[in-house]
Symmetry: C2
Subunit: 203 residues, 2 copies
């Protein structure tokens, strides 16, 4: 019988569980960070016991890499709406700055985890592939914004995708750190800085 509850094949159900576990692990990782998130702690805040992790994942690193891949899907097209809806260069700049601020407000733990994992990548090679893939995707995401911004302004970008990403990511990271340590003007500054930085990216 294929009711609404059992309409999935066993393989799909398996994959579904993997996703659920990874999603749960993702929030715990965002709370504790890579260094202090143990498998027992991860399982504790899910609906499963600590042993189940090795049923769905080969390794702790296998779990974390799956988490990273899952994270990627949630944030890769976050600013596409901003790009599509923009009618003017200034409007795009304002909307983009606002979207960045809201990202920190809504998902600060997720993004501090991202910077944590990217730093871990500099030490452990196992994370390399997954993290670098995301980094490249984020670079493309930023470049879509910058290219569209230049287009609307009728000018050409002064920098390449890599530099533009590193640059805006650095400003964002600084604002995230400021926000997390309680500097109350961190987000206001971010908004102003993004609006001032974008024009300098044009020739």
């Amino acid at each position: 019988m294929t009711t609404a509850a059992t309409r999935r094949t066993p393989a799909e159900k398996h994959e579904e569980r993997r996703r659920a576990l990874a999603a749960s692990a993702l929030t715990t990782l965002g709370e504790l960070g890579y260094a202090r998130a143990s498998l027992r702690e991860i399982a504790k805040s899910s609906e499963f016991s600590h042993g189940v992790v090795h049923y769905y994942f080969h390794d702790k690193l296998d779990l974390i890499v799956s988490c990273v891949r899952q994270y990627k899907a949630t944030c890769v097209h976050r600013y596409d709406g901003v790009v599509d809806d923009a009618a003017s260069a200034d409007g795009l700049a304002a909307a983009f700055a606002d979207a960045l601020v809201r990202t920190i407000l809504d998902e600060a733990p997720m993004h501090r985890l991202w910077y944590d994992l990217r730093a871990q990548t500099m030490f452990t090679a196992e994370l390399r592939e997954a993290v670098l893939a995301i980094d490249a995707t984020l670079e493309e995401m930023v470049w879509r914004v910058v290219a569209r911004y230049a287009d609307l302004a009728g000018a050409a970008p002064a920098l390449g995708p890599r530099a533009a990403y590193g640059l805006l990511d650095g400003v964002f990271q600084q604002a995230l750190l400021g926000h997390l340590v309680g500097r109350d003007d961190a987000l206001v500054d971010l908004d102003a800085e993004v609006r001032r930085v974008l024009p300098t990216l044009l020739v």
Copy 2:
């Protein structure tokens, strides 16, 4: 008797040991990262046993904070020579870009540790004070370069110290990551990007 070997007071000798231990710990931290550097591993690569750490430091965190403070002293005035010796804006840009590249070549482990610890700061409040103090000093260091560059070019900076630091730090961080994962054009790109970014920081 106050020979050359025992000319220091006991208090000075104590402080000297602390510095030696912190220096040794610093290299181990740069090798393993914050998550995997245990006290035993730190002591193993020093000339002491693992128990001595609690004789000179109250805590593991006390040790790490001391390491961070020590690290600060070594890199805070790294680019002052570049600023002082510069005769033209383009010359300053070239020398600064070259100095950044050499920093990665010479001390990549130290700097990946820095980014690791800054990410940890987003999770654990105990590191906050020491890390934020260094971050502010680095911001000033970058600002000295940018201000001098604007001065030589006869223009005014288009951004404030915070944005300028976040921006250049982001580009540097991207290059460090690229270098550590073996992207062979990472440092060449860094050189080119810094030279192209600096002019855009002027009005």
